[in-house]
Amino acid sequence: MKLKNGFVLREVCGEKVIVGEGAETVNFGKLISLNETAAVLWNKALGLGDFTVEQLADALTEEYEVNREQALSDVKKLTEGWQEAGLVES
């Protein structure tokens, strides 16, 4: 899967949020908030382009003290949330 174009991770009012953003318009009307870990994974996914749950789980275990099983479960849940929010495409 890959992150859809038009969504940018910004820090707004001290929070990390995904903002719908085109060349002309920045949409603060509906924001998707991410915690620190999710923001790290967002940037990782952005860097990878096409990414898998396994790749993000690897990144999670490298950055944080979490076992692979837990990392896979967390990333799966996170990417499902991104899919529901329309942030990723297959």
Binding site: V12, C13, G14, E15, V17, E24, T25, V26, N27, F28, G29, K30, L31, I32, S33, L34, N35, T37, A38, L41, D74, V75, K77, L78, G81, W82, E84, A85, L87
Partner: protein, 157 residues
């Protein structure tokens, strides 16, 4: 790690928005409150803002720093020299004041929760806004009826 869709309000967000508007970008901001009924449903709808491109006009819906205390998104009801008077369409009293330079943006479109955009200055809406202004003496009662009836069906102008 949850993905939470949320709406944010407040001065900090407005300041960030103003910085983007100064760069020439458009900004969509969520609106809260009932003070722009029946044109904008606060808590549900957003407005698309642009930096003022030309002279402000009576009837413009603007984001302004008023009375030296807070931001509002209200309609201009009068301009005298460099002073601007504003009032919420959903208010029956309470006029705010600010300087022309305290008007940070003009709202051009209202964006409904389904993404549909309404141009605030279509012929129909401008005519209704003028009529709405004339109805100020009885607006209180019209608003009361509106909020008990049409608002429940999310009716907007």
């Amino acid at each position: 790690m949850e993905t939470t869709v949320k709406t944010m309000y407040g001065d900090m967000l407005i300041h960030e928005s103003i910085a983007l508007l100064q760069e020439g970008r458009r900004v969509v901001l969520a609106v809260k409150g009932i003070s722009m009924h029946p044109f904008i449903l606060g808590g549900k709808e957003s407005v698309e803002l642009v930096k003022p491109q030309s002279a402000l006009k009576v009837g413009d819906v603007v984001l302004a720093w008023v009375n030296g205390t807070h931001y509002v998104i209200h309609r201009i009801i009068g301009i005298e020299g460099s002073r601007v008077r504003l009032m919420g369409d959903g208010n029956s009293s309470g006029v705010e004041q600010c300087g022309v330079d305290e008007v940070a943006a003009v709202a051009e479109y209202v964006i409904a929760p389904n993404g549909k955009r309404r141009y605030l200055y279509s012929g129909k809406r401008l005519r209704f806004a003028r009529l709405w202004n004339k109805l100020l003496p009885v607006r209180r009662w019209i608003l009361a009826i509106y909020r008990r009836t049409l608002l429940k069906m999310n009716f907007v102008i």
